[in-house]
């Protein structure tokens, strides 16, 4: 294991015992000697993976991204795509482009015969839905007409409309029910 704390000016005679929080500049280790891959969700369209592979460098390292049938451990892969990567310790922002889907990553290499050998596998993540759910709870139900009016007042048409404007718009039928086509309300901090 690499030592994660180094003195800025190395003095070999000094031991950890003499290091105080003031006297050192901390440097993070480049890796932890693990073989692993972690998958995080950035937004409805993007994932982020980081990985490290211990031991000797393998040829043709591949980050394989699977879309899964669900979020349970038994979920099956629906399809996958590969990203050729170089580093044994690396990261990648992955444009999956699909909200509301389940994903898993594997890091491994392609053998001579073209076969994929898995070295590490991530947990399952889900990109969030981007739009209104089609599922309706009958106990908590408004007609589509009322729901979409409420949706617009909720900021579902973007940030530029006030309730007066929404009131005007909702009487225009061509701007009526368009389930699933929502504009994300954005908040740009004034600070």
């Amino acid at each position: 294991m690499r030592k994660s704390i180094k003195r800025k000016s190395q003095k070999k005679s000094e031991t950890t015992r003499n290091i105080t929080p003031d006297s050192v500049e901390f440097e993070l280790p480049p890796n932890y000697g693990d073989t692993q891959v972690t998958l995080l969700v950035k937004d409805p369209w993007w994932l982020y993976a980081y990985w490290e592979l211990s031991g000797s460098r393998v040829q043709k390292t591949v980050l394989r991204i699977y879309e899964l049938t669900g979020g349970t451990p038994e979920a099956e892969p629906l399809r996958f795509f590969d990203i050729q990567v170089q580093e044994t310790t690396g990261n990648w922002f992955i444009d999956v482009g699909l909200p509301d889907k389940f994903w898993r990553a594997e890091i491994g290499f392609i053998g001579d015969g073209g076969r994929f050998f898995v070295l590490a596998r991530s947990g399952v993540v889900k990109t969030p839905r981007f739009g209104v759910s089609e599922a309706v709870d009958p106990e908590w139900y408004f007609s589509d007409e009322i729901f979409w009016k409420i949706f617009r007042c909720s900021g579902g048409m973007g940030e530029s409309l006030s309730s007066h404007e929404v009131q005007r718009i909702v009487v225009q039928p061509e701007l009526g029910n368009r389930p699933g086509r929502a504009v994300l309300p954005r908040r740009k901090k004034a600070l």
């Binding site: 950890t16 972690t38 937004d43 982020y48 969030p128 759910s133 909720s154 900021g155 007066h164 740009k188």
Partner: protein, 528 residues
């Protein structure tokens, strides 16, 4: 019977910044500025409203890091010195501007403002502002929520689960210790939510949290009332959604109230404007020019030309804007009452530091708004989320969607090219903390202290502020340093524990430096 309700939510947060090793430290001043310009002015507003018998409700989140800073003796005494320096500077300014009609009244105004702040901070509350907020909490006017222990952005820290639980449990414990009551709600840091996170909130006894609009709008199944009523997550914890329309009128840089030409201009400060030798004693240790808090100009217009600030006119504007905000909520709630089959709830959350610090007239606006709502209309009332739940305990069950209130609504601000490198290390440290805690369930003495300190270091490293600052590009070096320092101290302690050679001097030094959460118990990280 009102047709609807308004919940004003102010999120008060600062990262834990305390540098005993320096006499003055740039980033530490954020706290003193916020005390002077935001927290004391808000306390003045609440005090006056209570005194005048105004019926109002406000909800605040005061983060555990901020509560801890408010209680820290070193920061308390430094804050008093900060106020002393400002009083001295304002005296110098009164003398300097005595022949200047436009500015001398302003110098006098600032002098009065700082003297009063000092009287409230030191005199009335013995330098401990948590007492003030506790008073308003106990009187039932103010609901105080907790937050993540160090404002960790939970959707990206949720690996492993114990890391998430520690952020929540340590927060609840700190809140309870300082404010004398368990929090009922939590402001998820940056409104960062991912499905399942609410399970942990329920386990820690929390009953509600607040999301950005799309967190509820894009939930499953579709929410009957949009953002205008809370929903229950599958865990039973209630989620309230931010109302975009009312938020926009305050937040929006373009149309928001704070940009009005009569309001005080934030960026024209005498710390930058006046002759260096004159202002030097009031600047920070390294002598670089910084804002002092004394600002003589108004927004005026988009260009560089600025007119002198005219407090009376700005005050009138704040009153007008309060009237405008109330009028719009009346119209909004009347319109909604025609659609909904129950009274609508409008939730309007803002960063507390917007009020007073950035938007100087913000506290006056809030004061005027709450008075007007109480006296000038009957369409709606102010309410806290918990009161709403008590009135309307039956709510739809919806699984909210992953979301945050950051730019673009998801995790981009805290996960991008500028800051992604931290997660590898934060996750590893959390994993190691869990290992260490689980392997030593009954540590005592110095071993226990070292484990507790490891937990503090991990939590401090997890603060979302560091990733945020790395992204925004100012103070970046400081944010990088803090991330590395806490992870470094964590690693140092871990290696000493593993070698069974804990150095008490090193430990004491780290404990006195990162002294947050004095009663933390490392076993919060032990796997069940």
């Amino acid at each position: 019977m009102p047709k609807g309700y308004l919940s004003i939510v102010l999120h008060a947060h600062l990262p834990y910044i305390r540098h005993p090793e320096h006499t003055r430290f740039l980033e530490e001043e954020w706290f003193y500025e916020a005390v002077t310009e935001t927290y004391v002015p808000l306390i003045k507003v609440f005090t006056a409203l209570v005194k005048d018998g105004i019926d109002f409700r406000v909800t605040m989140s005061i983060t555990p890091t901020l509560l801890s800073m408010m209680r820290d003796p070193l920061l308390q005494s430094r804050c008093a010195s900060h106020l002393d320096r400002l009083i001295e500077l304002s005296k110098a300014e009164m003398a300097r501007t005595s022949g200047d009609v436009a500015f001398r009244e302003l110098a006098r105004m600032y002098h009065g403002f700082f003297v009063e702040a000092r009287e409230i901070f030191c005199g009335r509350y013995g330098k401990d502002l948590t007492q003030a907020f506790k008073e308003f909490q106990d009187s039932g006017k103010l609901e105080i929520m907790t937050c993540g222990a160090t404002h960790g952005y939970l959707p990206l820290l949720a690996l492993p689960r114990e890391a998430l639980r520690a952020q929540v449990r340590v927060a609840v414990e700190t809140h309870t210790r300082i404010l004398g009551r368990r929090p009922r709600g939590i402001w998820l840091p940056e409104c960062g939510y991912a499905p399942g996170l609410d399970e942990v909130l329920r386990e820690e006894g929390l009953r509600f949290f607040i999301l950005d609009s799309h967190g509820i709008l894009f939930g499953t199944p579709r929410p009957k009332y949009g953002v205008f009523a809370p929903v229950y997550c599958p865990s039973g914890v209630a989620a309230f959604a931010r109302d975009g329309e009312s938020s926009k009128s305050v937040w929006s840089a373009k149309e928001g109230y704070p940009g009005d030409s009569w309001y005080r201009e934030f960026y024209r400060d005498i710390g930058f404007d006046l002759e260096y030798d004159y202002i030097r004693p009031y600047l920070n240790g390294d002598g670089s020019r910084i804002g002092t808090g004394i600002k003589y100009y108004r927004v005026t217009g988009p260009g560089f030309h600025k007119e002198p600030y005219f407090p009376e006119r700005a005050g009138q504007k704040a009153d007008e804007h309060a009237g405008h905000f109330m009028f719009n909520r009346e119209r909004q709630i009347e319109y909604l009452s025609g659609l909904l089959d129950r009274p609508a709830l409008v939730v309007s959350p803002y960063d507390a530091e917007l009020f007073g610090h950035w938007w100087f007239e913000g506290p006056r606006w809030l004061d005027a708004l709450l008075r007007k709502i109480d006296r000038d209309q009957n369409t709606f009332k102010t309410i806290t989320p918990i009161e709403y739940l008590e009135k309307y305990p039956r709510n739809q069950t919806v699984t909210p969607s992953m979301s945050s209130w950051g730019y673009e609504g998801y995790s981009e601000v805290w996960l991008n090219q500028a800051n992604h490198w931290i997660y590898r290390h934060l996750h590893k440290a959390a994993e190691r903390m869990i290992e260490a805690a689980s392997a030593r369930p009954t540590a005592q003495g110095i071993g226990k202290r070292a484990l507790n300190q490891m937990a503090r270091e991990l939590l401090l490293a997890q603060a979302s502020d560091w990733a945020f600052i790395m992204k925004t590009g100012t103070h970046t070096a400081y944010a990088v340093r803090r991330t590395k320092e806490h992870l470094g101290r964590f690693d140092l302690l871990r290696s000493q524990i593993n070698k069974n050679s804990i150095d008490s001097r090193t430990l004491e030094s780290i404990e006195s430096r990162d002294n947050i959460f004095p009663d933390i118990d490392y076993k919060v990280y032990a796997s069940p």
